[in-house]
């Protein structure tokens, strides 16, 4: 049952992120509705856009946020729910469309407004996008370590960098 839901959800580009987030609602998300997830994915992508290097969408930042909203960020659930609704409402009012359907310029305009008027939500999603993009993949974002590769940081960070300075130096395989 869960498997089928996942495959169905896999059709949408956003839901690619759900390969890690099994369980949760119909679309495979833990907290977001499928529509919310698409909006969040688009917002995150404006915060850290793809260019010569992958952006928030490729890093599956929305997956990170979805997972954490059912864990350490539970207390932020309401802020997200209202914040996303606010962004959607603003898009409809100004341009008559859902956020994901807006042009990049229009999306930036809506988000710049949110930065001013919806501070609590915007500051959260800004911080969480950075975490999901630059943080450890184990938490559901930074898929394929795209940001670490961008910064030229070979993985994994756990190992010592120096291997030859001291004779007989311990270096785990």
């Amino acid at each position: 049952m869960r498997r089928r839901t996942f495959v169905a959800a896999g059709i949408s580009a956003v839901a690619a992120g759900t390969s890690i987030s099994c369980g949760g609602n119909q679309a495979g998300w833990r907290f977001f509705t499928a529509e919310e997830a698409r909006a969040v994915d688009a917002i995150c992508e404006q915060i850290i856009p793809a260019g010569p290097h992958p952006g928030a969408h490729d890093a599956r930042v929305v997956n990170y946020i979805d997972i954490q909203l059912t864990r350490h960020f539970r207390k932020h659930q309401e802020t997200y729910r209202r914040g996303i609704a606010g962004v959607e409402a603003a898009g409809r009012k100004k341009f008559g469309r859902r956020f994901v359907e807006l042009s990049p310029e229009q999306q930036v305009e809506i988000l710049s407004d949110a930065e001013e008027k919806s501070k609590a939500f915007f500051e959260l999603i800004l911080a969480h996008t950075r975490q999901g993009f630059y943080g450890d993949p184990r938490h559901g974002g930074n898929h394929n370590m795209v940001s670490w590769k961008m910064l030229g940081l070979p993985s994994p960070p756990i190992r010592g960098r120096e291997r030859s300075v001291w004779p007989g130096f311990f270096c785990p395989a």
């Binding site: 800004l126 943080g135 184990r138 001291w166």
Partner: protein, 560 residues
């Protein structure tokens, strides 16, 4: 043991000579010194005992970046505090700013710290005599001098193991022995900053570190991870009380450690002497550990809280608090930070980072009551780097991402711990309403920084900036501290040591003025906190206070 919960007392525990509350820096050393002298000791720790295998280098959940919680305690579920800012009161949790967390685990802060191991300077012990009264500050001299502490600094350095090379630090206080281990080979950052400091006529040197650079004391040498501070050490090369004095205390056979035991109060008999402590064990049972001596080593905030929670007919305002000084003078360090952007790469991926320092501005700065050391920062995590992006870069979008990509490997940060002017109003109290998971009233923090502390921070930022510019930084920018209360990892001062019972909590031997068998041995007793990271001073003072306690001990000894 009985399965009954709350309030039910199971079998009485065996009486011991000393119960030590808190297995951190101060408590760890005290346990080893007392147990080695033949006293029977129980060491209570509210946190867990993590091992080197807990080195998971989780960059979002460690002791420094806590967006997903603290790596090494306390947990967010059970440990609230209340923060008072002006008229605003908020319940804060350990992973949030404003909580003033250090750690909750065996080793305390020393389990995951950066391991800079500084001796304070001579002037740091007599700030009042050096600079006179500072209006609005409780700036005071310590009741002991640097000379009193010197042998114990040496003991901590050699017994636990410190690396580094302070020969070029012409400002250092007199010392008898060099450090037992050499510094790590210089990183690229170090090589950029060293000649620049010399050109400026400054006196750069290798930071002393409680970190093995060669095998020492049966533990390995550092392998230079990218990420060190805030994480467990995979090789055990970084030195804390958890891998030195605490195992040594246990090896004597005279010391038992009990983890996940939350101490609720110091118990008193009818005459106002202590008879032990009450704590809630890992299974949730209330226990009484009776002892001849009680040593409070919970870290500055929690030690004050424990004393205040120990009320008695004779001490209605809490233990040691006859004159209202417990919890006062909460202080830490104020950090101005400057980041410089270089044309070429300064990043070489060789941890741990911080390695070069100057003490040219700790004292003798015109018009200022003190100063602080300046050093390069530990290797920054990519997410941490967000906090170092300059204010003129857009906060989101392609510009921000491009800046991070371009600058990450070309920036150096220089910062330093400014010695703070203590404030009587910066304090720990008990919150009248909020209780923790165990039903114990929590710490309520209030107060702010002294304005002169911020003056010194501005001066230090100028000096850091000049150093980076001389090193070739094309651009520099500052991150300046605000006036809000200082606590956190370098928390100190809440159980001030002094000769006058009316203006201090413990005497020069770290014994409560009020009760002759209760001691405080941790950063709480610091009168002032030096312009340096505090751990080595906490360790040295713990060796000193323990020695005096043992010398004065007239009770039984198991074997010594």
């Amino acid at each position: 043991m009985s399965g009954q919960g709350g309030g039910f007392l199971p079998m009485p525990l065996k009486h011991v000579n000393a119960v030590i509350v808190g297995a951190g820096a101060g408590g760890g050393v005290a346990a080893k010194e007392l147990a080695s002298a033949g006293l029977s000791v129980v060491l209570l720790e509210r946190g867990k005992w993590y091992s080197a295998a807990d080195c998971r280098k989780d960059d979002l959940r460690n002791q420094r970046t806590t967006v997903l919680g603290n790596g090494f305690g306390p947990d967010d579920e059970r440990n609230p505090r209340v923060l008072v800012e002006g008229k605003r009161e908020t319940i804060v949790w350990p992973s949030e700013g404003g909580y003033s967390n250090n750690a909750a685990c065996v080793g305390g802060g020393t389990f995951s710290y950066g391991a800079q191991s500084w001796r304070y300077m001579e002037q740091d012990f007599r700030m009042r005599s050096t600079y006179g009264a500072v209006p609005g500050s409780t700036l005071e001299d310590w009741p002991i001098t640097y000379a009193d502490l010197e042998p114990y600094y040496e003991k901590a350095e050699w017994e636990m193991g410190v690396s580094g090379d302070v020969a070029n630090n012409i400002f250092k206080a007199p010392r008898k022995k060099p450090l037992p281990m050499p510094p790590l080979p210089p990183s690229r950052e170090h090589q950029v900053l060293l000649p620049a400091a010399k050109r400026l006529g400054l006196h750069p040197f290798d930071i002393p570190m409680l970190r093995n650079t060669v095998p020492y004391n049966g533990r390995r040498a550092c392998m230079r991870c990218r990420w060190c501070v805030g994480f467990a050490c995979e090789t055990n090369a970084r030195t804390g009380t958890h891998n030195t004095v605490i195992p040594a205390a246990l090896a004597t056979g005279n010391c038992a450690i009990r983890t996940e035991c939350m101490t609720r109060e110091v118990l008193l008999d009818g005459r106002g002497r202590s008879r032990g402590v009450a704590y809630i064990d890992a299974a949730g049972h209330l226990q009484e550990q009776t002892a001849d001596l009680v040593i409070v080593s919970c870290g500055a905030v929690e030690s004050a809280r424990l004393l205040l929670n120990s009320r008695h007919r004779l001490f209605p305002g809490g233990l040691g608090n006859r004159y209202g000084w417990v919890g006062r003078n909460l202080q830490s360090h104020t950090y101005p930070a400057v980041t410089g952007l270089f044309e070429t790469e300064t990043y070489d991926d060789l941890g741990p980072g911080a390695s070069i320092a100057i003490c040219d501005y700790n004292h003798g700065n015109p018009g200022l009551a003190g100063g602080g050391m300046l050093a390069n920062e530990f290797i920054r995590l990519p997410y941490q780097f967000m906090g170092q992006v300059p204010p003129w870069i857009a906060r989101w979008g392609a510009e921000h991402k491009e800046f991070v990509r371009n600058a990450y490997r070309r920036t150096i940060s220089v910062m330093g711990p400014v010695q703070e002017m203590p404030m009587f109003a910066a304090r720990v109290e008990l919150d009248p309403k909020v209780k923790d998971y165990w039903g114990i009233p929590v710490a309520r923090l209030s107060g702010s920084k002294h304005p002169h502390t911020l003056d010194i921070a501005r001066f230090m930022a100028e000096k850091a900036e000049a150093w980076l510019k001389e090193a070739g930084a094309a651009q520099t920018w500052r991150r300046m501290p605000g006036p809000s209360l200082s606590g956190g990892q370098h928390q100190a001062g809440t159980c001030r040591m002094g000769n006058d019972p009316k203006t201090s909590v413990v005497d020069r031997d770290c014994r409560l003025h009020d009760v002759d068998n209760v001691y405080v041995i941790d950063a709480g007793v610091h009168v002032t906190n030096g312009g340096f990271n505090p751990a080595l001073t906490i360790l040295a003072n713990a060796y000193r206070a323990s020695e005096r306690l043992v010398n004065a001990w007239k009770g039984s000894r198991a074997h010594s």
